[in-house]
Each structure stands twice: as structure tokens, then as C-alpha cells.
Subunit: 238 residues, 2 copies
């Protein structure tokens, strides 16, 4: 999986040599992994000795779209949220083990904007969206996640911020992962009241003043409520 | 991977019980596999006890599209090929181990049509596209693939048909896998002359008369030559 992550728009194809250099693994290990990935269709060998992401991914692409594509009404609400925040970027995250994954976004219109691609994995130890996704997590879970953070004693901080998120129904963060980057987020639930996602506005801290955060929080909570009513996270049969 | 294949439009979410029933595996094995797939983001547990294809697939979906999406010019040629064949379905296949995978298609306009979805895996022991994809294969390779066929002594047949495909530059098949289904195919090469794909017309045998096959073959060879010139199979940097 980590090997597949080395393929992107800048590196659409790779040689064994490139994979060896990028991973630091022994050549024999890379050759074996590439062979296994080829067997399962996740990598494909071109005639020129380079490998590319395999055609079997096409089937999975359909599956992913089918499961995670939001209905038009939800995308419209995300666009409206961006407009209500004067063009900040909107991202929708779900928890995936000890990370959060962006499942939808509206890029916003600002020149300086917070960009996270759909499918991108972000750390769960930082950011307003993480506070929300962890707002019902138990302490040992929080401790394990906080252990990934580069900050000392982060468990206590993450615990407090996720508890506060649970109480106030939204959360804000400033520079937890990257200095100068802020976020505000609110929870989305399924029809049975399970927490399923966090909707977030993100941008430069300079634009996320206390006043702006208060406005953003109100808009986020309203959008989160609408997404909850649409009950559309994780597949059409919800 | 076989577990993931159980999720589709008719089964967007699954319980462990359903997976156990569908695979015939022991419940403990299914629980372990589901856990592993969740760890890697390929499955995602909803709050209601059902699992869905995971959000990590979204990133792979991008990767697959990026690598395999054909340029507009290639799609136009496939559409023109369908029109030239009076509306038969056009499919483009690449070899993936001992199978062929459809990487692009034009559905055609006939009511009775040959339907293979993008990303779908088809057997390599049957069909005109397989003869083409195996036209440069060695005998042991052919023998291993023919062993998957439900027909006796298929290796000799597959060997002969793939040799003939190599010589005449196209191939036709009638009812090899399914009675009443025919196909005609031609080879697509990369700029270095490596065989990379087979372009095929498929439909009911009743419409694939000798006369029609001759017309289809000429149109396919012309289209295959154009796709070869576009050099667009398996990524934009080819």
C-alpha cells in the first residue's frame, strides 16, 4: 500500500530502482512486493520496464465512487458553506483507523487556500476535524493517536479539545499541525445518531479571527445538520 | 481482494454474516480479513455494523483514472469504430496476469449488445481479444492459461488461434466462452512496438457473419493503428 502511494501525477510510472530509492527497502524486497502487487492487479508492467498503477484499480474506482460520491444536495450545501465563509475551503472527513480521510471537498475561491484532495489521508492527532471525529473516543484511543504527534504531552491536549468539541458541538484549531493554518469543524451523524464524519472549514490563521470563527461555527453546525438529515455518508443505503 | 469483489451496486454494504455465507469461509477467518482490510482503509465500518468499500479507495480511484483514462481522441476513434460496425460494442483490453481487463469501452447502440464494464476481468483463455493479447506469448504461458478453460485439449486450440492472430494481424472468435457470442479483435502497440492492448468488437454470433467479420477486421485494424499512434495505454508519459 505504501508502495502504491509513491505513484501520483508527478510520478505516473516507476522503475524498481526509483521504488528502491524512494522506500529505502532492499532491491530484492521491492522486486517481491512489485511482483505481489502485479499478481493482484494493483500494479501493471509496461513494455518499457516501468510499472504503473494497475487496471484492477479501475473496478475499485467504481466501487469507491459508488460508495462515497455524495448526492448533489450535499455538494450544494458544501458550496453554500464555502460562500457563507467568504470563500474558505470546505472538507468532509471520516475517521479511518488512526487517520482521517477527506471524502469530499469544495475548494473555495481564495487565492491562499487550504487544499486537501479527496482520498487524502490527514493525521488524526491534529486539527478541528480530528477533535470532532474523536469527540466520542475513549481515553486509550486518544492516547494511542496522540502518541503520533510531534508535541510532548499531546494526549492531555487532544483529550481536552475532543471533550470540549463534544460539549460545544463544534471545534476550532490554530496551527496544531502547521503554523498559520486554522480550521473549524462540526459533526455529521447517521440516522441512528452515530458520529460518521466531520465537516470543516480551513484556511490561514490570519483570516480565522475569533469573530470569523464564531460565524464559521454557526454556519458549519447548520450545514452539518443538513448533511445529517441527508444521511449520505458511506453509501446509498444508509 | 476476493472479499472486496463481493461489494457492488446490488450489495453496497455487507455484514460479516453475509461475507461468511458468500465466501464459505469460517466466521473467524472473515472477521480477521475484514479487520486487515479495515486497517488498510479498503473496508470501512459504518455505525450500523455493516462494512462498505473504504475511503482509501478514493485515492486509488484518482490514480486509476489518471493512469488509464484515454485521451479524447482515442475515445472518439472507439465511437467511430462502433458506428462503422453498425453499432456493435467496442472494448479495449490489457493483459493482467492470466486474465484480461477492460480499460475502456464504447457501449454501442444495439438492443442486444455485448456488455463488459470498465475494470471488469475476463478470462484470457477465450475470445478474439485473448488471441491477440497472447499472439506473442510462449507455449508454456499458453498452456498455463489454457488449463483454466473448461474445454479438453484447449492448449493446442489457443496456441493455434494466437499464432494465426499474430500472422494475420487480427482474430475472430465464435462461442469460445459463451455460445452465441462472437468477437473480432486487433492489436495495439506502444511506441517501442510492444504489444499493450487489444481492441475488440463483440456481439451476437448471428450478426458476426463471415462478411461482417471481414468488414469489422478492416475497421479494427485501422482503429488499432490510430490508437498505436496515440501511444496512450497505461499512462500519460508513454
Amino acid at each position: 500500500m505504501d508502495l502504491l502511494a509513491l505513484y501520483d501525477a508527478d510520478h505516473p510510472s516507476r522503475t524498481v530502482r526509483e521504488l528502491t530509492d524512494a522506500t529505502g527497502l532492499a532491491k530484492s524486497t521491492v522486486v517481491r512486493l512489485v511482483h505481489t502487487l502485479e499478481q493482484s492487479g494493483l500494479l501493471w508492467s509496461r513494455g518499457d520496464g516501468r510499472t504503473v498503477p494497475g487496471p484492477s484499480l479501475l473496478r475499485w474506482a467504481d466501487l469507491a465512487r459508488f460508495t462515497w460520491q455524495l448526492p448533489e444536495a450535499a455538494l450544494v450545501r458544501m458550496k453554500e458553506l464555502s460562500e457563507a465563509s467568504d470563500g474558505e475551503a470546505v472538507h468532509l472527513y471520516v475517521r479511518q483507523q488512526r487517520a482521517r480521510i477527506c471524502i469530499a471537498r469544495h475548494e473555495g475561491t481564495r487565492t491562499l487556500r487550504h487544499v486537501v484532495r479527496v482520498g487524502e489521508e490527514m493525521p488524526l492527532w491534529s486539527g478541528a476535524a480530528s477533535h470532532i471525529l474523536l469527540s466520542r473516543a475513549e481515553r486509550p484511543d486518544i492516547d494511542a493517536i496522540a502518541a503520533q504527534a510531534p508535541h510532548p504531552d499531546w494526549a492531555e491536549t487532544l483529550w481536552e479539545r475532543s471533550r470540549r468539541a463534544a460539549v460545544q458541538g463544534w471545534s476550532a484549531s490554530h496551527g496544531e499541525r502547521e503554523a498559520g493554518v486554522s480550521g473549524v469543524a462540526a459533526p455529521v451523524f447517521d440516522r441512528d445518531g452515530h458520529l460518521v464524519a466531520a465537516i470543516a472549514l480551513g484556511g490561514p490563521t490570519t483570516r480565522f479571527t475569533d469573530e470569523a470563527v464564531a460565524t464559521f461555527a454557526a454556519a458549519l453546525v447548520a450545514t452539518a445538520r443538513d448533511l445529517t438529515a441527508l444521511d449520505c455518508i458511506g453509501g446509498p443505503t444508509r
